[in-house]
Subunit: 706 residues, 2 copies
């Protein structure tokens, strides 16, 4: 990593009165500026295996140019107390009485991490990967030791340990009677030291941007990744998949990606990575036919390798010393482990043109009496122990499976069930077996604080209203996924799983299909807008989906809002849930327009949305240009977009669209266009710069709303 000029600063050593002590006095080091507005504070003897150790990408340095220059670390290293004990180490940082803390991974049950029961009394956030994310303990599908504060700074603790963050609920003896002082205590087991990275603001959003840029910048999915992903029944073979896909095409339901679940393998749980030729007699033909229908393919797998797999013997020395479901646990932190695993995957998947993968079961079950995954005491040939591997397994697996695409110079867009720190550049959305719609929405917001993307997938539904509401949220998410792995037919044919599997269609299935089609077409109309938001994610670290507190940090009313979010620069989404006939929507400072009615609202007020089941409450920020495309059914390499630009308010700000081939990584080498849209009711213009040779976006109309 590039080293910027360092700032000298001494670490304050907290030397408690000890007696027969195991505590150690520690060598202090000066804090170092490692990227613009990013300081590293080195504490004690750091561990070798940390998230940063495995980070292959350098910070996206160009991105920092758009951020304010900050000369001093927002956290003085003198304010940090560091202690080492026989069980690990701890860091105590000061936090204010009403400071809100966001992030720490993909929590779906928590939002402001310093808050409990409406009070800022703090809580323990325990960073463990789990397949049961709807807990209040801090465990999640993506525990990330990074938080951003309402006070406009961020902190990343570079550890692969199951760290606990106490966000103000413990009181150090040294704080004594000073009741208002609060401590952010970070407990790190096993380690005798750690590097802490402090990210300057001045706003919380700036801190998040710096974290994302430090991670390498946000990912840019292929264009096709922004269309619908439909995943068929787990036992579908080639024929059933082709038939259903053809039926969806006939129904003109937009669809870009077809997901194939476990049944493609001879063995799953654990996995053989061998084609089940009963279900798929000619895999290459199947893939070709699906591609011809304009469908990209995403294949399910988990990493645990069944004894019948051809790679088993070779992989054996490069796997952990405990089995999972009788299968080897590949050590992706070793070159050989990764190579052997990828070789078999190349043979059966990548060489056949599979476009993406879904990486299942890479989390854990910390609160179970019978956890299915490898124990924390596991040892791996790389030297990682089980705890570290659990904290890194998701990212190592993602990086490994991304490699074949990078080598070919093409993009992919996968799914994964576990991620961790520094994951912003990884082209994967995180999904869950859980299915609470309210928690799904919270996950969307929280992902944005931690460099993650969250996929609130749709399966069955308790009512047609529930189906619409869930699809609406999926439309306004990074990846719109309908996952029918346990259903024969799509939910618009039948919302009930059992009836679906018996082939019973709902009497009004055609009407519901039409409703769902309209929702999916809304998604397709947003593709150029969302694609540009992703490019912004890469360029400046701005998350495409954000909690309101990131855009309005000075408004105390948005600090605890966890059910409204920004989608790109111009749209605010306020999802509704089945059973709600209305909901409150807070409009932050500025002017707002109802997307559907164009009704105009002054900001800084709470209004009531009463949108019916087929219409998600959606608001356009006044002063925005919103490009909406004529919806297409799928996005091929030659698909162009007819765009109508909608201007909201008297003098909308410019918006820049990102244009490229949509599939290759050439854009990263500059083969791209920027289309600056500028205008108001009196005049408008589009200015295309760049060296991508084609025009995929055609601005066909401008409309003005005020």
């Amino acid at each position: 990593m590039t080293q910027f000029n360092g700032r000298k600063s001494l670490i304050y050593l907290f030397l408690a009165v000890t007696c027969g002590a195991e505590m150690r006095a520690l060598s202090a080091e000066t804090a170092k500026l490692v990227a613009p507005g990013v300081w590293r504070i080195h504490l004690g003897q750091t561990e070798k295996f940390t998230p940063l150790h495995f980070q292959k990408l350098p910070p996206y340095e160009k991105g920092f140019e758009s951020l304010p220059v900050i000369a001093r670390s927002p956290l003085d290293s003198k304010e940090i107390q560091f202690e080492v004990s026989s069980r690990g180490c701890s860091i105590a940082l000061p936090i204010g009485t009403n400071e809100a803390i966001y992030g720490l991974g993909l929590n779906t049950a928590l939002f402001d991490m310093a808050q409990i029961g409406g009070k800022h009394t703090g809580r323990r956030v325990f960073l463990k990967p789990t397949d049961h994310p709807e807990n209040d303990l801090g465990e999640s599908h993506a525990p990330v030791p990074f938080y951003c504060s309402s006070e406009g700074y961020g902190v990343f603790v570079d550890t692969a340990r199951f760290a606990s963050f106490y966000t103000g609920n413990v009181v150090a003896k040294s704080a004594g009677a000073k009741k208002n002082e609060r401590t952010m205590l970070v407990e790190i087991p096993a380690a005798k030291g750690v590097d802490v990275y402090v990210f300057a603001g001045p706003t919380p959003l700036d801190a998040v941007k710096r974290y994302n840029l430090f991670s390498g910048g946000g990912c840019v999915p292929p264009l096709w990744g922004l269309g619908l992903q439909y995943r068929g029944l787990g036992t579908f073979g080639a024929e059933e998949s082709l038939n259903l896909a053809a039926r969806m095409r006939a129904d003109h339901l937009p669809c870009d990606v077809w997901g194939v679940e476990p049944g493609w393998q001879t063995k799953s749980y654990s996995c053989s990575f061998v084609w089940n030729t009963n279900r798929f007699p000619h895999p290459d033909e199947f893939i070709q036919k699906m591609h011809e229908m304009g469908l990209r393919l995403n294949f399910w797998q988990h990493a645990f390798v069944h004894p019948s797999s051809p790679m088993y013997q070779q992989l054996e020395p490069w796997s952990g010393n405990y089995l999972v479901w009788g299968g080897l646990v590949p050590d992706f932190a070793t070159l050989s482990g990764k190579r052997i695993f990828l070789e078999q995957n190349r043979k059966v998947l990548f060489s056949l043109g599979v476009d993406a993968v879904k990486l299942d079961e890479c989390d854990d079950q910390p609160d179970s009496a019978t956890p299915w995954s490898f124990p924390e005491a596991s040892l791996f040939p790389s030297g990682l122990d089980g705890e570290q591997m659990h904290s890194l397994f998701g990212v190592l697996y993602q990086r490994a499976m991304w490699e074949p695409y990078m080598e070919k110079g093409i993009r992919t867009w996968g799914l994964v069930r576990d991620s961790q720190a520094l994951a912003a550049p990884l082209p994967y959305g995180i999904y869950s077996d859980s299915y609470d719609h309210r928690c799904y929405v919270r996950g969307l917001l929280n992902a944005g604080f931690s460099g993650l993307l969250w996929v609130p997938e749709v399966r069955d539904a308790v009512s047609i209203e529930d189906l619409y509401r869930r699809i609406e949220t999926a439309v306004f998410s990074p990846d719109t996924v309908i996952n029918c792995w346990y259903m024969k037919n799509p939910p618009w044919d039948q919302i009930d799983k059992d009836k679906s599997n018996r082939g019973e269609f709902m009497p009004n299935h055609e009407e519901v299909t039409a409703g769902v089609r309209r929702l999916l077409e809304l998604r397709m109309s947003l593709v150029p807008y969302l694609y540009s938001a992703f490019n912004e994610y890469r360029q400046s670290g701005l998350p495409p989906i954000r909690a309101l507190v990131l855009d309005w940090p000075a408004d105390p009313k948005v600090r605890e809002i966890d059910d409204q979010y920004m989608f790109g620069s111009a749209l605010m989404v306020a999802p509704m849930f089945a059973g709600q006939s209305s909901r409150s929507v807070y409009l932050p400072k500025g002017t707002w327009y109802d997307f559907w009615t164009h009704a105009k609202y002054a900001g800084e007020q709470t209004i009531t949305a009463t949108n019916g089941a087929e219409e998600i409450p959606l608001f356009v920020k006044g002063g925005s240009l919103l490009p909406l495309a004529a919806p297409v059914e799928c996005i091929g390499t030659n698909t162009d977009f007819d765009i109508t630009v909608h201007g909201f308010g008297a003098n909308p700000a410019d918006i820049v669209l990102f244009e490229d081939d949509g599939v290759s990584s050439a854009f990263a080498k500059g083969v791209q266009n920027r289309i600056r849209l500028h205008g108001n009711q009196k005049s408008h213009s589009e200015e295309r710069t760049g060296n991508y040779p084609s025009k995929r976006y055609r601005i066909v109309d401008w409309q003005w709303i005020d």
Copy 2:
């Protein structure tokens, strides 16, 4: 600790194929015989602070004489795999396909730890102290790293870490396809080594006995400790306590101990350790008056010291670096911390003749988002970290508060909410805020595997039947406690808490009082029998309360029975729960007599008990002599017992009664009598040996049942 002749044995070192490894090769040591039938296997670099480090008592060597001599360790050290990683270390021991594993502390929700859903597929048992014991994770009020196996051996892992025991549900890669091999994996965080102690059988009970003797032998409560303990409302002052005690005396309800809850202090949560003179204007007079009524006093406290406490300033340097409820956490592992804490307690409690203490809140909340106790990252002046202190806090606190009594040469009999390893000699019963009667019964059985005593206390009740059933279980427990800390009046006046506090009595309260009196009199009739069972606990390690599997190890039908237990040598208890009109009772091999009807049953059959609410199903083992005393209301230093010996079956085995002053520790120096009762329908005898000068037990009658 006395070192016996060592046996040489090499530790097999599992050297996994590593690459850039953090794993270390380890120095092996020979296994050592450290007590008869007890071997130590030293693995790696052990930690300083372990349960054994703080064990002040040597093994009770004399007790081993009654056990079979075993020449070889039941676990060959070659069978143990030991691995060290950067996060700690792990031990893998072989277990059999159907091996049952008991112990691992005071679990109330689990029994056979290798079993889940009726199958021996194993589970993870996570040894963390918790105030929410009714979980299936292995957390409990007393996590103990000792287990005994149905195969007739025991294993103690000498660690104060939050260890996980995987009882067969993880599969090592090295086990490969050998499906029937199972592994007991013990994960120990932080430590780079550990001592493992193996306890020979040949039976599971022998292994438990060896563990208890190794711990120093079981405790012997004072005689008064075996009577009823009644705890009054938390805010009771001297007057209310005296009045209610007088009323209980007038009602002839047996009662030996009066519990005073938090209200005696000026501050609680945290605690001031200063008398609240509004409630107790003359503490010494209060204590004297209660003593005059024949009541011993037990005072509540927790260890966290409020800033207003006179000891605060002095204790400050000898406490942990985090506060609990704004109070200091004394470091009982330092001489100064213990001394300062005891000085204040001497001043306000011990010097006034307080007979016992109740030590609250010394556990933790591992699964809470807002744990109230000190964080694991805490540091203590002794050098202990927070994790170690959590694992040891209960035992260190118990030992500290026992000292003033030992110095005076008198016994005490306290209550505590957390305990751990090697606790058999500690004169405390463990209680809980939880209140599930079924779990309470399981706790009684489990305590017996781990050198613990469990107190299934009675508070309010949902019905009069529930009250009777709960008191019945309390009668057949180490300490019969009615804890009315949230109720103004005893539950026999009113089972409903709110009505109790409004002073409303049940219409039939006199009838219920009479019923409860009969149950308490049953307890009092068992005092000499139970006292002798406790002496046996000390002498041979035989737990006074035992799961059936300990007495009938060869009978597969008793292996999973967790709702019947032996109480002393002759009685088998089968508690019933509110709502049950009948229950199954398994009678093991032998002949059995219904305690109430004297009906005779052949063993190895399951019968149905239909005892009404006021009668607990109770069975006498054929061939037993059961001494029953005329019940007294309380046990003073001069109280004698008129005993009728009931002989069951043709040729009952002898029984030995233990007789002494009942209060001092002189018995341990030999000032005691043994009264051997011998006889059958034709002739009988009592043979008193020893040098205690008085006769407290008078055998007034012999009765024969066949």
